[in-house]
Symmetry: C2
Subunit: 591 residues, 2 copies
């Protein structure tokens, strides 16, 4: 069975040597000294390894079961959920006014990475609750907040997000779920929602469903959509639970992975709901939480892969097979460990260099969100808005790829469910799909985000790279980083230029290259992260750091990324510059 | 539930317009006229769609069950197996002397592609039997052949291949299974084998296990290994079944996919076996079948993806979501079909251009095997020996990737098992692992095949590409093909040169790039296939072919491959040329 040990060392490096959080002046970061974050991370690491990770395979094997209309979670989940609540882990970055601990989002992400690595399906119950909490926190009335938030912060009640219907996922304008206004100000919600994660379960006394539905008078398409609070049990004014609302689980889906999380078909049969936020502005309300939600999925993508990678490393050190081509490495054993073989190294380095880059990128993104929310930094807001589809799309594609690479290290044993490597690949697969399939992320990036605010944010990003490279001018040690980053950044700019020159005449010319652009930009972002991390590692070594293995390994891993991953940028640019013609030339009948 | 319809049109194109089989002068190809192959393919297509495909999901859901020591296959498998036997499909390319139909291997591959697309797990029962048949046919005594082959050709008895043990897969030198010689010339086989596909089941009256084991006196490592015939039931001299041999199923593995095939732990407890081929030459005996076996797995890789692709196309035409960016395409519907969106096209074109290239490449490989075996063509033998790791490694990596792309077209629905797209991805995954994990294929290619016979075969391959490009000199229509092919071929040669210049000093410098070399070469091979197919399609159009949609689609799909896939070659070259340093620089402890 796989194990998991949180890489708190690397998290501390990213927080304090890359992002320098305690010096960043963001309100709420006052406590973020290395000792403090280390204590939080160590405590979370313990919970991850000891409470969550042992349940990961259980969740996969047992799955969730629908019994008499109620979902039963896998054995041990309920006790673990209690432990999470008792430890205050569900409330980490929530508003103290409602019982939260008010910590920065970036720290919540670091802790979240561990929880996802240890048990992604389990962590989704609180993850969805956090999403619903954020929506009510941002758009609820004072009364709604007082009524729902304290119990959701503590996860005594959990939450869900209800968007998708059988005939519409991306295209929510076709939504059919109806909201009929009642005399008392409430609405009757009627319709069917699908793919509702944590839609029902046995770990909380109430579930607060947030449901998109069409109320009269809103017009066609997405304009008519509003957001509603629909509790499983109605909540009385004194906070006690009242009548069971007519919302029920139609069935649980059998999925490729994340079996420990219940994915439900939810039927709303005239269920009582209350408007959340403005009437007919439901889509906008959802979008305000989009950056966080999508960053959270990008994080899932690499976090699952991190767990897979750790086990691939252990296996590669342990499994004896063949001899090193440069001479016997383990003369007392019957064979050498896999890790001596260059192609196993190639695979492990692909994994490691991606994962550490992804962690830096995601924490940076979370830090930008903190800057935007806590410091009102509009530039940070613009930048994270630009980066969000890249974090979601690129990190989940590469995360899945990484989990598959890790599985491959096991050879035939990787295909056997008992070994647990298959689960990582199957679990990671969903991250490419939900919260906007990755093709939709690419569309959002190229069709909307590039041109947002007159292209200001992407220009700022290019300037940032230029400044980064300039700062290391003449530093020979940094040359492998800055040379590769400059080249990749130029390729990204050339791709953007191609879209500008061709996209106006023919939007397909831009959109045919959107997916490649997302990946090209992902590589540039990770290249920037690696350049900064290499600089930080050199600074630590120059400063006499004793942990030389860590810092030298960091630099070597970064050099691998620059040498072996950034060459993908030229390929993506070539694909982009081939334009719409190869992509669009067949008639539908010719497929 | 997914459907499958064999693409016999494209198969006919490859056989007759690309490979021109009936004019190739290979002995045994006399019957291979278009009408004849069409009749065979049509009949096989019918079996595939009507008998095998409907059982694919059943096999996945039900799996195999071990009951009282005997494996029970999924519902319907037995009847389908009878239908396969009755139709003579198990005997297609087998020796007429033992009841086979003596058809060329290339035709068997075309039929095999359909059977795999329709139901990979099911087709493995006869696939493994065919492998065991080939081994006995090549190495057996006249008596052994007479005793076993007729029943194996008809699949009344099936076969297995027993190589792997718990502690050794790739490194068979560590094998522990023992063979003790008996006075009557037989051996007692004792040991445990794992990952034995079709190791036991309820569809045949006997199972002929071929088992690698160590007999005394053979020395250390792989040199001491011999191959043995170990029947489940001993066979009397009159052909009737005798005593049950002490070989038993320890357990069935729970796997990520191919649930319909029983993957068994086999325990040999002094089971009676007979030497097959020469004593202590068991590895060599296995290797004589390696090209066919590995080509068969490469075929599985793309064949499963073909089924996934077909369903992605159907879904993309059927599912209404969003509007075309260039204007409403389906004004009478609530939305446009997915297939109008450029990014969906990008995905479908990636799939289609790979699949048709892979089919051509595989059939060409099978044709080379026919040339080698039936016409004694040593150049063909050398070329297919070089190509085999590419066919296996590249086509299975890309096949899996393609199945994942197809699954992605379904959005959230692709993650739901009921839709069947997850099964394609899970089934395809094994092809990257078994019959030599793809890293081992890359090692075989770079460490052995490139230099085989003094590098003669790889030089011949480069000459072949040069000649192909030269033949189209001045043909403007072919320029997008030949330009791209020339560039890719140069990159492949540069990679080979890098290995020659650096590999002698440091073998790791070559092996660190082996995986990228395998992919680079795969792209060059598919580029060559597409160049030839484009030429054939132009020739057909010039000749007044009425099926213009097919030929024009073929050319457009080829142009897509050249424009959008061949740019990967430069990336692989850059990775290769970065050498061993980035790959090998970390100490094991730094991972």
């Amino acid at each position: 069975m796989p194990s998991y040990t949180a890489n708190t060392r690397d998290m501390q490096f990213v927080l304090h040597e890359l992002l320098k959080v305690s010096q960043s002046g963001v309100p709420g970061y006052e406590e973020m000294e290395p000792d403090f974050t280390e204590a939080v991370l160590d405590a979370a690491a313990k919970v991850s390894s000891e409470v969550l990770a042992p349940l990961n395979a259980v969740g996969d094997t047992e799955g969730c079961v629908l019994e008499n209309g109620i979902v039963r979670t896998p054995k041990g989940f309920k006790a673990a959920f209690e432990a999470m609540k008792d430890g205050g882990w569900t409330a980490l970055d929530c508003d103290p006014e409602y019982g939260g601990q008010g910590m920065p989002y970036v720290l919540n992400c670091a802790v979240g990475e561990m929880f996802v690595s240890a048990n992604m399906a389990f962590n989704m119950y609180q993850g969805l609750t956090h999403g619903a909490y954020s929506a009510i926190h941002a758009h609820g009335t004072a009364e709604q907040k007082a009524k729902y938030l304290p119990k959701m912060v503590s996860c005594e009640w959990t939450g869900t997000m209800n968007l998708t219907e059988p005939h519409c996922g991306t295209d929510l304008g076709m939504m059919r779920t109806k909201a009929e206004p009642q005399e008392d100000g409430s609405y009757k919600i009627t319709g069917q929602k699908i793919f509702i994660s944590a839609g029902d379960h046995d770990m909380a006394e109430n579930i607060i469903h947030l449901v998109l539905a069409k109320a009269p008078g809103g017009g066609e398409g997405t304009k008519g959509i509003s957001l509603f609070i629909v509790p499983k049990f109605l909540v009385n004014d004194d906070g006690s639970l009242g009548a069971r609302n007519p919302v029920s689980v139609g069935k649980i889906e059998e999925k490729m992975g994340i079996h420990g999380n219940s994915t439900c078909v939810m039927n709303y049969d005239g269920a009582t709901g209350w408007l959340l936020g403005d009437l007919h502005k439901g889509m906008r309300a959802m979008f305000t939480m989009m950056n966080e939600a999508r960053l959270g999925v990008g994080l899932q993508g690499y976090a699952v892969a991190e767990a897979a990678y750790q086990n691939a490393v252990l296996y590669a050190k342990d499994r004896l097979q063949g001899r090193a081509v440069t001479g016997v490495a383990n003369p007392t054993g019957p064979a050498d460990p896999l890790i001596v073989h260059p192609d196993i190294r190639r695979s492990l380095m692909d994994q490691k260099s991606f994962l550490e880059g992804a962690r830096a990128f995601t924490f940076w993104g979370a830090h930008l969100i903190d800057r935007a929310h806590k410091a009102g930094d509009a530039d940070a807001e613009g930048l994270i808005s630009l980066m969000t589809p890249v974090i979601k799309g690129f990190l989940t594609d590469k995360g899945f790829e990484t989990a598959v690479l890790a599985q491959q290290v096991y050879g035939g044993h990787g295909y056997i469910e008992e070994q647990g490597m298959s689960q990582f690949a199957r679990d990671a697969r969903i991250t490419m799909i939900y919260e906007g399939a990755n093709g939709v992320q690419a569309l959002d990036l190229v069709g909307r985000k590039l041109a947002q605010d007159g292209g200001k944010h992407v220009m700022a990003f290019f300037e940032m790279i230029k400044a980064e490279c300039k700062a290391h001018d003449g530093d020979e040690r940094m040359k492998p980083f800055t040379d590769a980053l400059k080249a990749a950044s130029k390729q990204l700019q050339a791709a953007g230029m191609f879209f500008m020159q061709n996209g106006m005449k023919n939007p397909n010319a831009a959109l045919s290259g959107s997916y490649d652009f997302m990946h090209l930009m992902g590589h540039v972002c990770l290249g920037l992260m690696w350049t900064r991390m290499a600089q930080a590692a050199h600074a630590a070594l120059d400063g006499g750091a004793t942990d030389k293995d860590f810092y030298e390994g960091k630099i070597a891993t970064g050099r691998y990324y620059m040498a072996r991953q950034l060459p993908a940028c030229a390929m993506h640019l070539a694909r982009i510059e081939s334009g719409a013609d190869p992509v669009m030339s067949l008639a539908a009948e010719q497929f």
